[in-house]
């Protein structure tokens, strides 16, 4: 049995400690109600661009397009998912069809749904990144 080999991480830019020598013990005494920002930086110019009137419009349209995308993918997936029992209820004869002795309902629910959900997820990841890229280009131009 091989145990995973934990890699010593490169010092994270936000770790706030020097990158030489062993890491020092840190005692935190104040309540921590917010985490460090994510590792991507958030430049002031960018922030200003986003909070200008035009920037607000861009952000608003990004949020709307991401939400629309998420709803479309979720809706499509749910319709197919709900469609399976509805179809089986409407046409009970499907239950009798077998492939290598395995009835179709078992095949659909036991095997078929998984590739479907992975396909939906892959489609979403691609489209969501494209939306973000479009937004980034707009902000960078502006």
């Amino acid at each position: 049995m091989t145990t995973p080999e934990p890699l010593r991480p490169p010092p994270a830019p936000d770790s706030g400690r020097p990158d030489s020598g062993p890491p020092a013990r840190v005692r935190v005494t104040a309540p921590r109600t917010s985490a460090r920002p994510s590792t991507g930086t958030y430049p002031v110019t960018r922030e200003m661009a986003e909070h200008s009137a035009v920037g607000e419009v861009f952000v608003g349209s990004l949020i709307r397009s991401q939400l629309r995308l998420a709803l479309v993918v979720a809706g499509g997936f749910l319709i197919i998912l709900i469609g399976i029992p509805v179809l089986l209820g409407l046409f009970p004869s499907i239950r009798e069809v077998t492939v290598f002795t395995v009835p179709v309902p078992w095949l659909l629910l036991g095997l078929g749904v998984y590739p479907l959900s992975i396909a939906c997820a892959a489609l979403y990841v691609r489209s969501a990144s494209r939306n973000e890229k479009r937004f980034q280009d707009l902000i960078d131009e502006g």
Binding site: P9, P10, A12, P13, R27, S34, R36, V73, L81, S117
Partner: protein, 512 residues
């Protein structure tokens, strides 16, 4: 038939059980101790300093997520309910699709450690934070209990020891591991345990299929394995199937131990990649419990009674192989089962301890350790006082509760400008009372509630009700909309700027 009688009746070799349990416990502790040597800061303790890569992270999420309900419960349910049970793994997996679509990237960008942190940052309200913390703690406790029931079942079947030994062993190992290394070492432990769980089902499955093929023994018995006559439960109505699927799909969104994992991604885009990998890992995994369940319908039909069905995975290898080969394969699945309780429980304890220590112990490392002990003791007492009937079912109720409380908060908080603190609190409390109330009522009514699907599977009406209350109250308290809403939403949804984060130590920014 009680769980411990099943083991006696079928004469599993106790030495095999001991060996498997020891092996998993020792490996887990070793990885935990190794992790301790490299986790030093509070950041390491809480979220592994965000240096975990998507594959590691995805394996860790899978390892943490695949609980007793998945490892033992799914096969057990297939044994007694046939196709109706197939909805459980579908829901468990597709929950990650919903998480990907609505939550993964924005939540990572929120920069909060826990759901209560998110609530406070988004709603700028301390009461909203407190209510969220309370719900997270309740969900965590409720979710650990079935893990401990699973441990009780596994330990008593495989070793013949009394049922309380299993939960106690899990609690001790989890506490030691969590207090030792916190989140960083847990990430390694969890990632290892996904692959352990997969192997623990895949290897016996391959051997079993090979033997059945070689000996010409029936695999599906010419399709007889699939007939509904083998089911010992009544078929589920369309309502209860739909309600279950809603609970599982949207309950995953709010599970505290799943969400905290997303903070270990470096940015929103990698949070999405991680989720996609998780979806694939879960899809592969669930093929095996399904296979075990189908084979169980032919080879372990005697287990098809409530309380014993969850033992299907553990008993099946011994029914097909005898002697040393059977013992070895049984040891394999036992190790996998134990890994399932350990990983889910330790993931839950880490996230719970994070919340409890921030809320009550001022967020220090020592507070985290105290909180970890507290987070394991309560569910241990609950588990020892209660009795489990079906693992997948009790986990399903926790999902329904999460879907009715934390899920609306996250979805509306991320996507809707209009959410106010009053609306969020009202919605969460309404969901908690409606959903918790119906599940409790159904439990108290016992067998009389068997036909009351709307009580036993309340998600289909309690989730929309929680959303509705949240929206209506938010509209009514329009004036309480937090001033920073559009800033927070911009933060959640805009991609991180590329650049210095790749430049290494030279670009040491003075954030924090």
């Amino acid at each position: 038939m009680r769980a411990d009688e099943v083991g006696d009746a079928f004469g599993l070799n106790p030495a095999v059980g001991y060996a498997a349990l020891l092996l998993v416990a020792v490996t887990t502790l070793l990885i935990g101790i190794y992790g301790l040597r490299i986790s030093r800061t509070t950041g390491d303790f809480y979220v592994a300093s965000r240096t975990v890569r998507p594959w590691w992270n995805a394996s860790a999420i899978g390892g943490e997520y695949l609980s007793a309900a998945s490892f033992l419960g799914v096969a057990g349910l297939i044994l007694i309910s046939g196709t109706d049970a197939l909805w459980f793994p579908i829901g468990y997996t597709a929950g990650y699709l919903m998480l990907l679509l609505f939550v993964a990237a924005p939540l990572r960008r929120s920069g909060a450690y826990t759901i209560p942190d998110f609530a406070q940052a988004r709603l700028e309200s301390l009461p909203a934070r407190r209510v969220t913390s309370l719900l997270v703690i309740v969900v965590g406790w409720l979710y650990i209990v079935p893990q401990l029931h699973g441990a009780a079942l596994t330990v008593s079947i495989t070793t013949g020891l009394p049922a309380w030994v299993g939960p106690l062993a899990v609690v001790v190992v989890v506490c030691a591991g969590v207090m030792g290394g916190g989140m960083r070492s847990i990430t390694f432990v969890q990632a290892f345990q996904y692959w352990l769980k997969l192997t623990a089902l895949a290897v016996p499955a391959v051997f079993i299929l090979l033997r059945l093929g070689v000996e010409g023994l029936p695999v599906t018995d010419g399709g007889a394995a699939f007939t509904a006559d083998l089911n010992t439960t009544a078929g589920a109505s369309l309502y209860s199937t739909g309600s279950l699927v809603i609970a599982l799909l949207f309950g995953t969104l709010g599970l505290p131990h799943v969400l905290v994992r997303f903070y270990t991604n470096p940015d929103g885009a990698s949070a999405r990649r991680t989720t996609l990998i998780v979806l694939a890992l879960l899809s592969v995994f669930y093929l095996f419990p399904t296979l075990f369940g189908i084979l169980g319908r032919i080879y372990t039909p005697d287990l098809a009674v409530p309380g014993a069905a969850d033992a299907t995975v553990l008993m099946l290898p011994g029914r097909i192989f005898y002697g040393a080969a059977g013992d070895a394969l049984t040891a394999f699945v036992t190790a996998g089962a134990f890994a399932a309780f350990l990983s889910t429980s330790s993931g839950l304890v880490v996230s719970l301890a994070g919340v409890v220590s921030q809320e009550f112990f001022s967020g220090s490392v020592r507070g985290f350790r105290r909180a970890a002990v507290l987070s394991t003791l309560v569910p241990l007492v609950l588990a020892l006082l209660t009795d489990s009937l079906a693992l997948a079912g009790s986990v399903g109720s926790v999902f329904a509760f999460t879907a009715s409380t934390l899920c609306p908060l996250l979805l509306l908080g991320i996507w809707w400008r209009g959410l106010t603190d009053a609306g969020a609190v009202a919605g969460m409390l309404a969901g908690a009372v409606l959903c918790g109330g119906s599940i409790l009522t159904a439990a108290l009514l016992g067998p009389e509630a068997a036909s009351l699907d709307w009580l036993r599977q309340p998600a289909l009406w309690t989730v929309p009700a929680a959303f509705l209350v949240m929206i209506v109250v938010s509209r009514a308290t329009r004036g309480r909309r937090p001033a920073g809403t559009s800033r927070v939403l911009a933060r959640l949804h805009t991609p991180e700027a590329p650049g210095p984060r790749l430049a290494g130590p030279k670009a040491e920014p003075s954030v924090d």
